[in-house]
């Protein structure tokens, strides 16, 4: 059963929990994956998002999230001019993605350092989201829990090395998923945790041999 504040709540900027509040969260998630100030964003909208984004302010909402705003931030409606002021370049495209959830967006971000991130996610109702792809890896991420992400070589023992570090630091894994491009190639592991991850833990995971990159995605509230 849902809690009291799932029914009387959340506090949000209208008009739609799926097309506005959930869209802010998709943008926010993309921002967390990029992990730095974005300077360029290309946003692809599919299905109902593509058809109705103007009336629901979905474009403003995603951009607000990319700039780090929460779903109850009253600046959301001014997000497009604010992005311009901050030097964030924007491009929108209406696309058709076979089999995708009707409220799907793909967000391509480029950060100030030149680092890039791509996420694909859907707003699945009531402001909840599901991220299905990060940088080409299939994932299932809701943003409700802090997550540790590793990109590593697909070989025996890596998963244990990383989960051992979490165990030593008394961090409990709530959900976990490993995916790979092909056997022995690069793989991605996502561990959703019950507690926020200290930076030192992420750094420790980064030092595991065969881990190319480890980063954390804070819960998006």
């Amino acid at each position: 059963m849902h809690g009291v504040f799932d029914i009387v709540g959340p506090v949000m900027i209208g008009p739609s929990s799926s097309h506005t509040a959930g869209a802010v969260r998709l943008g926010l998630m993309a921002r967390k994956v990029l992990g730095e100030q974005p300077v360029q964003a290309e946003i692809h909208l599919h299905g109902s998002f593509a058809r109705t984004y103007r009336g629901h302010g979905t474009d403003k909402a995603i951009v607000a999230g990319i700039m780090g705003m929460q779903p109850d931030d009253e600046r959301i409606r001014e997000a497009l001019p604010l992005a311009k002021e901050q030097g964030l370049q924007l491009q929108f495209k209406q696309v058709q993605i076979d089999g995708a959830h009707p409220n799907t967006a793909i967000i391509y971000l480029t950060g100030a350092s030149g680092h890039m991130a791509r996420i694909r996610g859907a707003s699945v109702g009531g402001g909840n989201i599901l991220i299905s792809n990060i940088d080409g890896y299939e994932v299932e991420l809701t943003g409700q829990y802090p997550a540790l992400v590793t990109i590593h070589r697909d070989q025996p023992g890596i998963v244990t090395r990383v989960t051992e570090i979490l165990a030593w630091n008394a961090l409990n894994v709530a959900f976990m998923r490993v995916s790979r491009q092909s056997r022995g190639a690069m793989a991605m592991m996502i561990l959703e945790l019950d507690e926020e991850l200290p930076r030192t833990v992420v750094e420790e995971c980064q030092r595991v041999p065969q881990v190319q990159k480890a980063f954390s995605i804070p819960a998006i509230g």
Binding site: M1, H2, G3, V4, M12, P15, S48, R51, G55, E74
Partner: protein, 291 residues
């Protein structure tokens, strides 16, 4: 640990422990979220403040929504006040509900209750009740917990999403939540709360979700005003001693069944009903010229 899956279970817990319904809902939330009472109470108080701010903004709002379909009607209703057939307090309640929904449509801040599309009903009913009966803030916050408990049971046993159950799931649920909360505020018994919820929902059963241009505006904004009237009527009927022949949990089950039977085209897809009327199609082309 306190748990309830039906309103009958919620009511018997309250009777057993000789506590108001709101206290049972608060106790469950404290256990579930592992938060102290103060934190849970504070969070609801913060929600009530957002609701009140939306009402105050709504009744003076002249701004049109992004689509241009709504905006400015709450102000008209508020000004009309005592001149109508409805009593002044009832018409003001309708104005508050329409006002909150207009604030939602102009990308203002609201509290989903249970959804953004139905966000005006519970706060409008409680705000009007507070003015009329001079309830204190504590009583209103408690009533919001009662409303939440009712909504939690409906969410669990039916649905609160228009895409799943049609508008009965959104505005129907909100009217039930509001009606039950009003009865508890007025000192009604749990049985009377249940009757009010049942009466309100029964009169919105089958309501479809067919919004023009897929937006949370037509008919949603004005419907928030109408559903608030259903809530007030249901609360008054129950307080007067009128009972629902069908018990409330059975009404909720009926709502779930009807929701499942509603065609996809009438569940927030804008493929039928009001959304495909010639006027709606003309408006839709105007709003989305390149679609």
């Amino acid at each position: 640990m306190i748990a309830f899956n039906t309103l009958a279970e919620l009511f018997s817990l309250a009777e057993e422990k000789e506590l108001p319904l709101s206290e049972i809902v608060i106790a469950r939330e404290m256990h579930d979220s592992q938060q102290p009472r103060e934190a849970v109470w504070q969070a609801m108080t913060a929600n009530w403040q957002v609701m009140c701010a939306a009402i105050e903004r709504g009744i003076v709002n002249e701004e049109k929504s992004l689509s241009g379909l709504t905006g400015g009607d709450a102000k008209k209703l508020y000004a009309f006040g005592g001149k109508g057939y409805l009593g002044e307090q009832a018409l003001l309640a309708a104005a508050y509900a329409v006002g909150i929904s207009e604030v939602n449509a102009v990308m203002g801040r609201i509290v989903a209750c249970p959804t953004a599309g139905s966000c005006g009903i519970v706060p409008a009913a409680l705000y009007a009740a507070q003015q009329q009966k001079e309830y204190d803030a504590e009583q209103i916050i408690a009533a919001l917990f009662t409303a939440a408990g009712i909504g939690m049971v409906i969410d669990q046993n039916a649905s609160i999403a228009g895409a799943e159950g049609g508008c009965q799931a959104e505005c129907g649920t909100a009217a039930g939540m509001a009606a039950g909360a009003l009865v508890e505020l007025a000192g009604g018994t749990p049985q009377q709360v249940g009757d009010a919820v049942a009466l309100a929902i029964k009169n919105l059963l089958g309501l479809v979700c067919d919004p023009v241009a897929g937006l949370v505006e037509v008919p949603c904004v004005k419907r928030n005003g109408f559903a608030t009237m259903v809530a007030l009527t249901a609360a008054d009927m129950s307080l007067a001693g009128v009972q629902s022949v069908i018990p409330v949990d059975e009404v909720i089950a009926a709502m779930a069944q009807i929701g499942h039977m509603l065609p996809h085209a009438l569940r927030e897809t804008s493929e039928a009903g009001l959304a495909v009327t010639p006027t709606a199609e003309r408006l839709t082309r105007k709003i989305y010229p390149d679609a």
